[in-house]
């Protein structure tokens, strides 16, 4: 891994069209500015990982899972139709 030291206001250029700027340093937090072409998607790593995990998990579902969802949906629609007051989960 390439490791570079930069000060506030200084930048790093990656390839021809990606610029990474150090905007602010506050305690153990660093604010970064990223300029990149639209073909490059930028995500926080943990958000990217979470969405990827959700996608991979969701891809495992079977028709029985769908049936379960549909049953719950129909029950809850029925409840609303009957004007039953919604139960609030207790703390």
């Amino acid at each position: 891994m390439l490791i570079l030291t930069r000060k506030i206001g200084e930048t790093i250029r990656i390839g021809d069209d990606i610029v990474l700027s150090v905007m602010e340093i506050r305690g153990n937090q660093v604010r970064l500015g990223i300029q990149a072409p639209r073909s490059v998607t930028v995500h926080r790593q943990e958000v990217y990982d979470q969405i990827q995990d959700q996608n991979l998990e969701a891809a495992q579902l079977q028709t029985t899972d769908k049936q379960l969802i549909q049953n719950l949906w129909q029950n809850s629609a029925l409840k609303k139709a009957n004007n039953e007051p919604g139960r609030k989960p207790e703390a």
Binding site: Q54, A58, S76
Partner: protein, 154 residues
């Protein structure tokens, strides 16, 4: 055209209904052609988004507007250009991926943070990751389901 699926066997699908998702969905970049299967929704908003090129790959999806009133995805100019349209209009459809946790199935969730946005004329799609704090990745579909024990199990 005929496609193979593990869940539904061989299907004959109209070619002009295929949705191209050039980048795939996050974590599954290899499958880029999908078809929306609406055959078994039974009056509910849940459909399968089946990969055309991978028999095993399918997601349960739904329209996120049915979960949150006024659900909106902000399109910037870049995003509009990426989809190849002149302006953001009503010709976009949205599909949110539904998930069912193995350990507690009633706590099923829908991913409102990363909907698959489909340009309907070109049938061109992309999983768009919305900025933080807009909508959750795991939005409970049935918040009241956690209350089930009090309501009495069958």
């Amino acid at each position: 055209m005929k496609i193979q699926t593990t869940r539904f066997g061989e299907l004959n699908i109209p070619e002009d209904r295929v949705i191209e998702i050039p980048d795939g969905v996050l974590g599954l970049p290899d499958s880029t052609s999908y078809i929306l299967l609406e055959h078994d929704s039974e009056g509910t908003p849940f459909n399968w988004l089946q990969a055309v090129d991978n028999p095993d790959l399918a997601f349960i999806v739904m329209d996120p507007h049915l979960v949150v009133d006024g659900y909106t995805v902000q399109f910037d100019d870049d995003a509009v250009e990426r989809f190849g349209t002149e302006k953001a209009d009503d010709s976009f459809g949205m599909l949110a991926i539904v998930n069912v946790p193995r350990e507690d199935p009633v706590k099923m969730t829908v991913n409102l943070r990363a909907p698959i946005v489909v340009q309907l004329q070109k049938r061109l799609g992309q999983q768009v990751v919305l900025p933080d704090d807009y909508y959750p990745i795991r939005h409970l579909l049935f918040p009241e389901a956690g209350d089930k024990e009090k309501a009495g199990k069958k």
